[in-house]
């Protein structure tokens, strides 16, 4: 994307009908480290890449438990993600207190999306710079949603966001039809393999990734490092190269070209990923 005269305020439309500040916010999500999510009929698994800044520092927390039945993985400005997680936790706990019942995921996601939309229509605010993968369970089954800074939300069988997520998406696209009836452990294995795809050849270790699960009879929890490492070893995925990873520069080049194409054509809806 290139600078232009319509990108200073979030409340300024471009002649092509785009809000550039919102699109720049979505760029921030693409720059964050990868997060993936996938679901079956009964379970949802979230995973993310957790690289520490230096050997001396700890990892940033990118997966948050929102309630026993809902969890979220973020990509982008983690501070914005933390604040939104606090909002989600608050909404869930208030609902639980009033109705003695878990907040349906679909409703939480809509509330979150409406909150994000407000920031796209106030001149004194900026959009949240974080994409959220919301995983949850309710009466109607297991759900995975993606909330983006534009205020849109989508339900997915499987999805990946953040840098080098295209590689993970390709892997998930190949396999997603099997997910619906997958047993829980296979789902976790698929999540780990999707994470591995984003690492571009680097060895997959439990110290650089985080995995969380929620399912029927299983409240949302983050798997501890030992369990994750065991699973990695058991499935023998560490250091294995299945298919050559997608070249990240080529992918970025393609995306830039399509954006410019969209600006010229006014065809492609820029808010869709």
């Amino acid at each position: 994307m290139f600078r232009n005269q319509y990108d200073t305020d979030v409340t300024t439309w471009s002649p092509a009908g785009r809000l550039f500040q919102v699109e720049y916010a979505m760029e921030a999500v693409k720059q964050g480290s990868a997060a993936i999510g996938l679901r079956s009929k009964t379970h949802v698994v979230l995973g993310c890449v957790n690289k520490a800044n230096s050997e001396l520092s700890s990892h940033q927390k990118k997966i948050f438990k929102v309630d026993d039945h809902i969890g979220v993985a973020i990509s982008g400005l983690t501070a914005d993600g933390r604040v939104l997680s606090r909002y989600m936790r608050n909404e869930c706990i208030n609902y639980s207190f009033t109705y003695e019942s878990p907040l349906p995921v679909g409703r939480l996601v809509v509330q979150l999306a409406d909150k994000a939309q407000v920031c796209t229509q106030r001149s004194w605010k900026r959009p949240y710079g974080v994409g959220l993968l919301v995983a949850g369970l309710d009466e109607s089954g297991a759900h995975l949603y993606y909330n983006c800074p534009s205020g849109n939300y989508f339900e997915y069988q499987a999805f990946a966001i953040g840098s080098r997520s295209q590689a993970a998406k390709t892997y998930l696209e190949r396999r997603f039809e099997n997910f619906v009836d997958s047993p829980r452990d296979d789902l976790v294995k698929d999540a780990l393999m999707a994470i591995r795809e984003t690492l571009q050849g680097e060895a997959l270790k439990s110290s650089i990734c985080t995995v969380a699960v929620v399912g029927v009879g299983e409240p949302f929890h983050i798997l501890d490092q030992g369990t994750v490492q065991q699973m990695i070893d058991a499935f023998e995925i560490a250091g294995e190269q299945e298919v050559p990873a997608t070249d990240p520069d080529a992918a970025a080049g393609q995306e830039a070209a399509s954006e410019q194409g969209a600006a010229a054509d006014e065809g492609v809806a820029p808010m869709d990923i």
């Binding site: 109705y99 003695e100 019942s101 679909g106 409703r107 809509v110 009466e139 109607s140």
Partner: protein
Amino acid sequence: MNFIASKQPENRLLGPESDTQRTLYPYVTGTSVVALKYKDGILMAADMGGSYGSTLRYKSVERMKPIGKHSLLGASGEISDFQEILRYLDELILYDNMWDDGNSLGPKEVHNYLTRVMYNRRNKFNPLWNSLVLGGVKNGQTYLGMVNMIGVNFEDNHVATGFGNHLARPILRQEWHENLSFEDGVKLLEKCMRVLLYRDRSAVNKLQIAKITEEGVTISQPYSLKTYWEFSAFENPAQGAIGSW
């Protein structure tokens, strides 16, 4: 959502006594509601009387109403407060439906919402002067609960309000069992209501029985119970105690 008229000053513990906005005593009241779980759902009975003190003033008051798709609410106590509660619940169900997302509030959720409302009003010294019975079925689960004006709430297999607690519940404790058929449930409820009719001064002989199952709510047309006054103990009641009252 506002639960009190906004005329009341903020941040006060007890306003001046000239404040006419608080409920101090009930005026038009309904008497007992009795309800029990049976095989397919809930059966609930209440008479149609609205008493004005000791006068049996109104005789066609419907004290049971369906709430949303899955619940049935019966109330005793101040009728105007019951109508207010119905307005709150109407708004609640409306907002629930407006989500249009396939989720709906079940009886457990409505019961807990009512508990929060009743308890919060009690804490402001402005109670809704009712004892409420909330029953329903959702996804095969039967639920029956009670909440009263001070916020006491609980669930059970059979509940009653007011005099029903003293006269009907002992009968239910003896004779209720799991998986009652519809006919047995109605017979049991009518037995309780008959005792209440004989012994509760504010009962009227015009009642409705309501049932709620997975399919929905049905409230019967009003009818009367057969009573028998020819018991020998009723003849010459002062026989054993002439001169006393």
